[in-house]
Symmetry: C2
Subunit: 339 residues, 2 copies
Amino acid sequence: MNIRHIAERAGVSVATVSRVLNHPEHVAPKTREKIERIMREAEYTPNWFARGLNFNKTGTIGLMIPHILNSVHMEIAKGVDDVAHQKECIALMCNVENDREKERRYLQWLMKRRVDGIIFISSSLGKRDFEQVQEQGIPIVLIGAYRDNDNFHVVSVDYRQAAMKAVNHLLGNGYRKIAFLYGETPQVENEQKVEGYKQAIRDAGLSLSEDFLKRVENTIEGGYLGAKKLMELAQPPKAIFTSSDYLAFGAMDALKDKNLKIPEDVAIIGFDNVRMSNLVEPKLTTVEIPLHKMGVYGARLLFDRIEEENSPYPGAILLQPKLKIRKSSGHKERIGEMF
Amino acid sequence: MNIRHIAERAGVSVATVSRVLNHPEHVAPKTREKIERIMREAEYTPNWFARGLNFNKTGTIGLMIPHILNSVHMEIAKGVDDVAHQKECIALMCNVENDREKERRYLQWLMKRRVDGIIFISSSLGKRDFEQVQEQGIPIVLIGAYRDNDNFHVVSVDYRQAAMKAVNHLLGNGYRKIAFLYGETPQVENEQKVEGYKQAIRDAGLSLSEDFLKRVENTIEGGYLGAKKLMELAQPPKAIFTSSDYLAFGAMDALKDKNLKIPEDVAIIGFDNVRMSNLVEPKLTTVEIPLHKMGVYGARLLFDRIEEENSPYPGAILLQPKLKIRKSSGHKERIGEMF
DNA sequence: ATGAAAGCGCTAACAG
DNA sequence: CTGTTAGCGCTTTCAT
């Protein structure tokens, strides 16, 4: 069932049928209605490929997601999807699974399909990959932290500052032996957090201990194992700052298994402020990141570039996070009065 | 950069170039290598639309997801994605947001793009919608519970049995005043759970109280509000069974706010066994659903149908859930010895 | 083993 | 307002 069948049945040319599809206003109302009726009766739907062959606009953007089971990434994705949907565009979500090769393969797919643009969330790809995409004329936007991003459009958060805020809060509550338990992914984000942690420790005139910097898989399990190791140190920490709430959940579980009270024996601060951080026992102090907003801003940036021929200058949107103070980080002496 | 450019540079016809793309074995090794080299140098990628115009296979399947922020659905989606990826096929994840109209719009999109098949997760669409898709020659698979699914391929769980198991466990622990707090979505699944709940209560010779059947939004907030209402009853329940772990988390929060101990004052059982159910305090007894497996089975079913011309007979795969017994459901007198 | 040519279904000049 | 026609980039007979 193609455009010619419709044309024949309606006794018009294919051009006219094509017109009711694309510029209905240029067709006489009577002919148009007749053609529309016939289309409906025949359950005709235009062939997407033939269409794309002429248009070269696909109404699709690619969205690279590090891991679809991590709600942190999905919150961002939702922001992107919201904007895309509003633009009557479909966001092709690609589950990259923190695997550079898988991401590259997806990228090839997307480029072949000539998507109108691509958004990367905490991608592990590099400058070279991104440039290649842009050279094909496909605009991109990066969300998260990237090492070498001067020439790209990026939406990010000041992860360094964020980490400093968290550590300073612990310092302010009187803690001195503070460990940082961080995930292998997302890599660059976490490197920036490490920097912030180190800076805050140094600024307080304390000495850095490599033992207190523990790198683990960014999962609940990773948090569990990491915290366990930390507490088995000869000089265990009195507070643990983690690079994600999931790590914090795992860490809390480990502490409970060791019969340590939070925050009386060990304080904890997480990162991201996922919904559950408010429901664990005790409620988790954490760094709040505007995840949904990041997705929205990123998508807007991308659509601006897709729609305007002369895309705006590359540049970064840098958002500031906020510390969400709850019970898990409370000073042991003041805890009674604080909560 | 198209196939003709390559042909010219290589001094061959477009047909030969096309052949190295599709049937390389029918091209003389020397010519083939030359052409391949030129393609690489020119960074040529075949136009996807032109290709699809001839093939009519897109290497894409649609995946309808009720809500991408709900990890229950994403676990299933991950199962689908795993299989799709293995089949070198892309799964287009559509974030339906429990909105029938949004889902229909996505469906139109997918059909226009001639995806090779579509998988629906707990869809709110009906028999008519599904039939329309199949009439277009696009095979579909349903995951979850559906009202009128005899003519479709579906992967489901015995939700009725599952609910009975949970309620029976509570009955076995001595509870008599058991409420069921269930979500508005996914609708059919939860209706089946309601049935199971009622059946188990009746089988125990107890009388059903409408007050104990509370329907709320399927979110943590919904669970909080629902549990609060239940506990404000003149005769509040001594145990609450919820249709999802998220509802259970909200309910637990409400109980804590009322200074009620779990399970000493009120027992709780959730549904789904999401990762966090093992990390809340107390650990949550819940019904374990093989989410990932459901996705995998659904995808396999779909690809079988896509690949075989004569698709297998419609039929259902019905999986049995298991009760995961943890602390939140313990009998108050026996709790000491049980955990 | 390779080439010429006829489409695949649709859009957009151009002409009337 | 409508029809004619030339592509869009690729695949695939059918010859050679």
